[in-house]
Symmetry: C2
Subunit: 218 residues, 2 copies
DNA sequence: AACAATTAGTATGTCGACAATATAGCAGCA
DNA sequence: TGCTGCTATATTGTCGACATACTAATTGTT
């Protein structure tokens, strides 16, 4: 899954994305060791490329590296997921706040259109959990914040980890109808340029989502 | 300045820290291009080491890299500083909230001791802006959150950028007495385990700090 | 004179080999 | 038998050289 407009141009870019997705999708199991030589044969590139890819994965917190020892894929734990959602709540809350100030009318209209399509799908009974739609919703609000650091942190860092948890702990969860209502209220707050409310609603939205996942884990 | 307990063991580690500090302290000017060959002679290491160091700097958002073109030190702008403080407000607010829940009594006592020493210095007329003290204060609360992602984002990422702005836009600002009061109230909220209030006060504290800097820029 | 294309030059991307460090296994001793 | 120290092996860290892509200067054309 390519997020944003990351266009891999160099071999290291491509290998980074391949390796990352193999990890996120669970084809390389969490907690396992990453051998540079092994990976270099597997992906048919030199060790230097693999090293660069692993370095970037470390920056995303997807792998952990110890000097002179090697790199391991991070281990997934309930505690880790909670910490991740705490950061998400904080950052996406701020994103919603900023989006209420910085999104253009056009962007807001687009967002409402997306929400309407989402609603139609729910109405048509396709009310399985639409991850793509949900991601797209959050995606646009984060971009709407117009804050470079926020965007980068969430897309390059947090997002892939969240997806890794979703995939590997198998939560293609429900929450579709309630999530729709929450999304609607958030957009309304943004359209009203109510930054305070937008942040609060987004934080609650993510908190609910966290609670739902926590409940499923226990 | 070494933050946390990053112990450079490999040559790439050392070069990364040297290069980072040269940039943060302004010995390498903001916006300038980083030539790999040039740097490799300057720091007396191979180009591979320099490349790894630059990769890590890119992960910190201290340099920007374009494929097949090269890396540049980020340019400093008022807008960039504002965006940085927006992220700080969000993350450190959450850190204070979590610290109120997760800090041990001992850690809170230590924090109060630090605050007392800070107060004594202010009383003694050494009321120039104590950056080290201020940093140490925020440092402990961030650590007190016990949230790995939060800690890493702030220390490895945001912190050095903030310092870069401070150094290069020359703001060894005042705000020492008011900042002291704000710190005191934050610690009180944490000691009372009032997460809600701790977050709110921390966010206001950072907002005030941002406003003070903005005023100085215009 | 101004613009386009080609070419030379320089910087980045990639590679394979060597050096240094950690881990595991084995031998020797208490 | 259990522990300590050494050795061997395998993995990571580092390096210099080659391949490739961008940049800019030069030349030719309109």
């Amino acid at each position: 899954m390519l997020l944003g407009n990351e266009k891999p141009v160099t071999a290291a870019d491509k290998t980074f994305i391949l390796l990352r997705d193999d990890i996120v999708e669970g084809r390389i199991v969490a907690g396992s060791k990453l051998s540079e030589t092994e990976l270099s044969t597997k992906y048919a590139v030199s060790r230097a490329i693999i090293r660069e890819a692993i370095n970037r994965l470390e920056a995303c917190h997807i792998v952990e590296r110890k000097a002179n020892v090697g790199a391991r894929v991070v281990a997934l734990s309930p505690q880790g997921l909670i910490e991740l959602y705490q950061v998400r709540e904080s950052l996406e809350g701020m994103a919603a706040r900023l989006a209420a100030v910085n999104m253009t009318h056009e962007e807001i209209d687009d967002l409402m259109g997306l929400l309407q399509r989402h609603f139609d799908e729910v109405k048509d009974g396709q009310s399985y959990y639409q991850e793509a739609g949900d991601v797209d919703f959050h995606y646009r609000i984060i971009l709407g914040s117009k804050n470079k650091h926020l965007i980068s942190m969430l897309f390059d860092g947090i997002y892939h980890l969240v997806r890794m948890y979703r995939v590997q702990l198998g939560m293609a969860g429900p929450r579709v109808t309630t999530a729709y209502d929450e999304h609607k209220h958030i957009v309304k707050a943004i359209a009203n340029r109510d930054a305070e409310l937008a942040e609060m609603l987004m934080r609650r939205h993510i908190m609910y989502s966290k609670n739902s996942i926590e409940a499923k884990l226990s």
